[in-house]
Amino acid sequence: MQIDWIYGLLGGLMIGSAAAFYLLVNGRIMGASGIAGELVDGTAGRTWAEKASFLAALVATPAALAWVFGGAQTHLTSNWVVVVIAGALVGLGTRMANGCTSGHGVCGISRLSLRGIVATVFYIMAGGLVMALARHGLGLI
């Protein structure tokens, strides 16, 4: 749809404001993979409660909005083998690289961090390549 980019921009501004708020108030980088990863592998230490609060709100707010307004859809593939493989790759890769779309992408690039820029270039390139292969080459997704 033609107006999708307006929602994209609006949502993007909200994402960026959330990251800005988290940095200026809590003094931390808003990276989804780092926050989730440190909670599950037990390295969050004393920052545990803070990160758990962030995560709980991140899950609960869209869930509530989707329930009230309806219409939210992920259109995730029904092929659970692909889902498991994709989930494992995302979990492993983001922890190895120490960041994902929010940490390296939004927070890193806006700071002109070399690591953030390099990571983003590589995950987008790999994503485009795998997409071309899996969809147009193998017809997998």
């Binding site: 929602y7 994209g8 921009l9 609006l10 949502g11 501004l13 994402i15 404001s17 959330a18 990251a19 800005a20 940095l23 108030v25 809590n26 003094g27 931390r28 980088i29 808003m30 780092g34 989730a36 230490g45 004393r46 920052t47 409660a49 803070e50 609060s53 995560l55 991140l58 899950v59 609960a60 707010t61 869209p62 869930a63 989707a66 329930w67 992920t74 995730l76 593939t77 889902v83 498991v84 493989i85 989930g87 995302v90 979990g91 492993l92 890769g93 922890r95 994902c100 779309t101 992408g105 806006s110 590589f122 995950y123 790999a126 485009g128 390549l129 795998v130 997409m131 969809r135 997998l140």
Partner: protein, 287 residues
Amino acid sequence: MRNLTAALSGALFGTGLLVSGMTDTVKVQGWLDVFGDWDATLAFVMGGAMIPMAIAWRIAARREVSALGTPFPPKNRSGVDPKLVTGSVIFGAGWALAGLCPGPALASAGFGGVNGAIFLIAMLAAMVAAPKASRLLDRMTAPKGSTMDIRALTPTYAVSPQIDPEDLPAIKVAGYTTVIDNRPDGEIPPHLHTPVMEEAAKALGLTFVANPVIGGAMTPENVAIQRAAIEASGGPVFAYCASGNRSSVVWALAHAGLKPADELIGIPARFGYQLEHLRPALEAAKG
């Protein structure tokens, strides 16, 4: 208070992901599908998100600490390493296959159905396994016949439990150029004493630095010597003590204010070194 503001940020982040359409895998996969029906929405999302964040970094640069008194995370100066690139490529592949990255995967938990939950479980399980997989990779690429346990905290600094003079050639082959001895001689038998290790290391052309750390009585001088040795080294540094714990502690303190405290505590924790008690000192330091 911290928990409340963190929750506010999480709520806004989740709402933004939902509004932007990033919880819809069709949009994300559409962005990556350059050869198909390309969807540019993600570029607007990323662009939009960077505007407030770029402003926030400018404000942060002019202040010492955040509104709640936490020092701002310093820029990671360790540069680009193979793990950053390998990890990003692995992540990108998974991102394309399902169309979900960690943020949207969590934000869509409430309406993502069974498969969304399966994705989350697989992702979180892989996050738990990631440090082990990463270490396995290190061990597989290590020279054969070595019984040592080199624990690379960063590409340029590794710690290890007590080593033998016979381990030194493997350390050299692994690419380390400086060896730091953090164990006082009083704890160990003579054949492992500093002069023996020093002679063996120098015979191989390795730089050797003796910096004995007494357990529980580390001095500022210990930290200064470690920092100077790391800075002076032309290549990766290998430090050892009894378990690798003291070598991790001096490393963390030597980088206080130069790397985020979360990283200085989180990385050693992956190898079993608990440095949480250093958090106040690490967060208070200025770069």
